[in-house]
Point group: C2
Amino acid sequence: MSRLYFEDFHPGQVIELGTRTVTEAEILDFARQFDPQLFHVDRDAAAASHFGGIVASGWHTCSLLMRQIVDELLSRSVSHGSPGVDEIRWLKPVRPGDTLRMSMRVTEAIPSKSRPDRGVLKCEYQGVNQHGEAVVTMKTLGMFGRRPQ
Amino acid sequence: MSRLYFEDFHPGQVIELGTRTVTEAEILDFARQFDPQLFHVDRDAAAASHFGGIVASGWHTCSLLMRQIVDELLSRSVSHGSPGVDEIRWLKPVRPGDTLRMSMRVTEAIPSKSRPDRGVLKCEYQGVNQHGEAVVTMKTLGMFGRRPQ
């Protein structure tokens, strides 16, 4: 299988990253480990909260998005990792049974001056639920290898 | 137990969030679910990579930090959640057996104009490993309730 290099991306390019349905059991399991706020782990407390029911931890939502990024993009790219992420926004609650459609858009492609074998891609990611509502957005910096001459 | 309100925080305030040691089993379990890049899930591939061994997913590191934030801060505060996170930076790898000391610093405390019952705290969080190296930093917006008059 041919792999994707820095040269295979360009600003404006949109890449679909597939869909993922999240179950209540997954939401509870993640939150009990990492984010045990009541509206993530306690059905009764969640029902009484302004959320009106169990909602996923925002970190869980980001992790589900990351899985799609790995499966649909990084696993077939020459990726050198990421120094970080900017502007994560949790726009709507993610609830048990929701199906998120993930996608990315390349906003900038910058060849590295110090490392001629790689370049930086600035990308915007989003997850949209089955009602067409964006539930999460974020911006990343990713380092990708350049195609050997 | 008295709970913490918006009025209990002020710019410059530092709050310690305890320590957390992460095991290889935890790193592998998280990465297999959410971030199965080879340097997170495959010992041999990780050893041959520029990391030189298994390292934690950056999302796992953030989730471990979140757990400390919940246990040490949010569980005893009147918290109304967060619209998002900015400037996550993964500065150093997190490796099996590392112990991270987490802390937060309040940078701004802004009473809400539209909602007199709450205010926004801008905070910077960091995790420092047993060698004194910062491994992760991030900035958050958090909404906290104001103390009833």
